[in-house]
Amino acid sequence: AAGVIQSPRHLIKEKRETATLKCYPIPRHDTVYWYQQGPGQDPQFLISFYEKMQSDKGSIPDRFSAQQFSDYHSELNMSSLELGDSALYFCASGIRFENIQYFGAGTRLSVL
């Protein structure tokens, strides 16, 4: 069965650079979620989209932005990267009226 695909799996950036993370949800899922998990931390909700519209916003820095495209894939854009942005970034997809979220394998971002 198709799963949530995230790319790249690993990304190394310098401070003040930009990064773009991509997420391809499971086909026919209408909702995409982004989470950030720092080292040894629990996942923190960043932002979600339902049918290509932003539906909820969590602790996402102003330096980050995200969108969902017409083919339902989503991108998380991160600018002016800071050391503290080093984390695992997960994308999850689901069907809005159901409860389970299906997570991708994550993108590990290292900011040097």
């Binding site: 979620y33 629990d42 909700f45 999850a92 409860n99 994550g106």
Partner: protein
């Protein structure tokens, strides 16, 4: 995270023993879910219990929910070395169809010794 605080943070047991992990939360919830994460990998949904349910079973998993105490427990019976992972509880507060983000608690690292 202030929601979904797990207790204990690390648990080491022998294969074949049962593992119990507890979680507490602070706000009203629609449902509570448990997820598993192998080291540095994605989260995998294990089991969901709704706010009007008290107990749920799935294979070797048993989850309980006490909404009066705002707490849940996950029991893994007859543990296996392959159960070694981090386990997170996550709560959903919105009603069905509304903002459905999950609020995760701090993970519990379970080590099952062969």
């Amino acid at each position: 995270s202030q929601q979904g605080e797990e207790d204990p943070q690390a648990l080491s047991i022998q294969e074949g023993e049962n593992a119990t992990m507890n979680c507490s939360y602070k706000t009203s919830i629609n449902n509570l879910q448990w997820y598993r994460q192998n080291s540095g990998r994605g989260l995998v949904h294990l089991i969901l219990i709704r706010s009007n349910e008290r107990e749920k079973h799935s294979g070797r998993l048993r989850v309980t929910l006490d909404t009066s105490k705002k707490s849940s427990s996950l029991l893994i019976t007859a543990s296996r070395a392959a159960d070694t992972a981090s386990y997170f509880c996550a709560t959903r507060s919105g009603y069905t169809g509304a903002n459905s983000k999950l609020t995760f608690g701090k993970g519990i690292t379970l080590s099952v010794r062969p």
